[in-house]
Symmetry: D2
Subunit: 177 residues, 4 copies
């Protein structure tokens, strides 16, 4: 069932570890009871992977823990360089949804020989009503099968980096028209 | 990025609705407070899809709500025929983990021109510590990119129907050795 | 076991309905996924009472849904008058923790012939890690047994209105020294 | 506000530690994913007290972890003797709901100079829809203000040991008619 392609993709799940880069976003927001505000503490990723009973070989790294509205060009360069330098061919990045398409574009333009999937959450994982765990399972699955390229995985769907936009009224991701 | 193959597969997300067949399993077990036992009531699938903010076009059908240890050949035939009769080319089946490989085998032997992914949960969705939502996101993603065939999606991984077994001591799915 | 006292108290659970006045506070904060901020939507009280399988006769009223840091004198007067006008002799008030002692004081100075217990939460009920449900059970229980007076129920404890302060560093309530 | 009575009760919160005796029951049931059945592992009490941000001085002891349907006379004698031997004047006991009234009776007949409140849950705490946290807050509050005696705290209410029965059809506690 293997379909080797010029871009290194395979339509069957690839072997080898997957790199998981954490950048924060709503995904990891926490409620600070002393200040009454949302902020970042430790990532919830490890707890989520335990909950999902995920048995994939993963190399997890926290690059930053920020709201993506506060991401600078320097932050995006760090993400791009981390992807370039990673030994792994398959990378999932957790990211705030507000500027996820910007980071996806910065990565897409690099044309790295890797499959990179960005995902996030509309509601913090710390809330009972979060989409975080669903999106994590989705992104980790897409990244194992998609050919090299840069994608966004949200709402159960998968979008190419150059054909996606966040619909800010509905809070969902869609292809551009 | 399209890799047309004899088996109708594609490594990029396919368009068209996905059929979601519900058969019960631990995934959907509920706690009955009057009897003190676990049983089945309504499926949690719709609530889970809402939580995941899933925007895929889905045709959801409940075939049965049983523990897979109680599945009979007649039950499996119903699952096979439902898959054959479905208009959709891509199908996800929620199923108890105990005999998931048996149903996967029954389907695999049919060689239907469809991508079929079975998934379940080790802990009922009704529990806070369930892997159900993670697995649902995983299965719905795999089914969009895998070529025609029958698969099991558990523990973040994807297994071909003829190379998977449930490790009953550890409660995880693995390839056979 | 009845100890009738000048202040109408009783050390055994009183009969008759209990009034539950909702004013908002962290207790009822919700996460708005479009704005990314915390705000107020419908109260969670009814859902919490269902979860607790509460069989008390309750008259539930929402007076306002605000952060207690934004409470004005007019808001407090509304709370006081609602307590005065209530047919019930026993009242629980859900309230933000930041100025709960101020409202308790305003009520305490009125000397109403009622048992009034204020409670709240350090973490919104919408979060999995909320103290809301615990505090609600606590307040509803204290109000059934305490003599007439005004109290704050937090952290499993019960404080008289004129001997309590919020320790803002630790985020807990204590008696004043 | 103190009402000293022959039975040592007080309608204002008592000082001094409260003993918390754990016996299991639905309160503490856990789902075993390997067997697919409900059983007992470690108690959830400590986690619940943390969630409730409970600042009471508590002496917590696990006496047993069993379904109350399996309680024997020997088990009940252990509970009675533990209450008698406890240094504390105020005791909360977590217990299965099925035979809670039997244990309450065994304790009531002893006439110990203590306030003892039994509570439990209709749905295991491990489930998102549990009444456990509400009942725990309720019991810990009642025990601080009730006079000496034996009580059951369920459904937000408090019942004297000799005037309570579990309505098995509805799954709630009521006074006997």
């Amino acid at each position: 069932m293997s379909e080797p392609g010029a871009r290194g993709g395979s339509a069957t799940p690839a072997a080898g570890p997957i790199r998981l880069l954490i950048t924060g976003g709503t995904f990891d927001k926490a409620y600070d009871e002393i200040s009454g505000r949302l902020d970042f503490k430790d990532t919830h990723l490890h707890e989520m992977l335990r909950l999902g009973r995920c048995r994939l070989e993963l190399a997890v790294r926290t690059l930053m823990m920020i709201d993506s509205l506060e991401m600078t060009d320097a932050d995006r360069r760090l993400i791009v360089e981390s992807c370039r330098a990673a030994a792994e061919e398959r990378i999932v990045i957790t990211h705030g949804t507000d500027t996820m398409t910007d980071t996806a574009r910065a990565l897409g333009l690099e044309g790295l020989p890797k499959a990179i999937v960005l995902t996030g959450a509309m509601v913090p994982y710390a809330f009972g009503s979060s989409d975080g765990l669903f999106n994590l399972g989705s992104a980790l699955s897409f990244v194992q099968v998609l050919p090299h390229g840069v994608y966004i995985a949200m709402n159960g769907r998968c979008f190419a980096w150059d054909d996606v936009a966040k619909n800010r009224d509905l809070g969902v991701f869609e292809t551009r028209r």
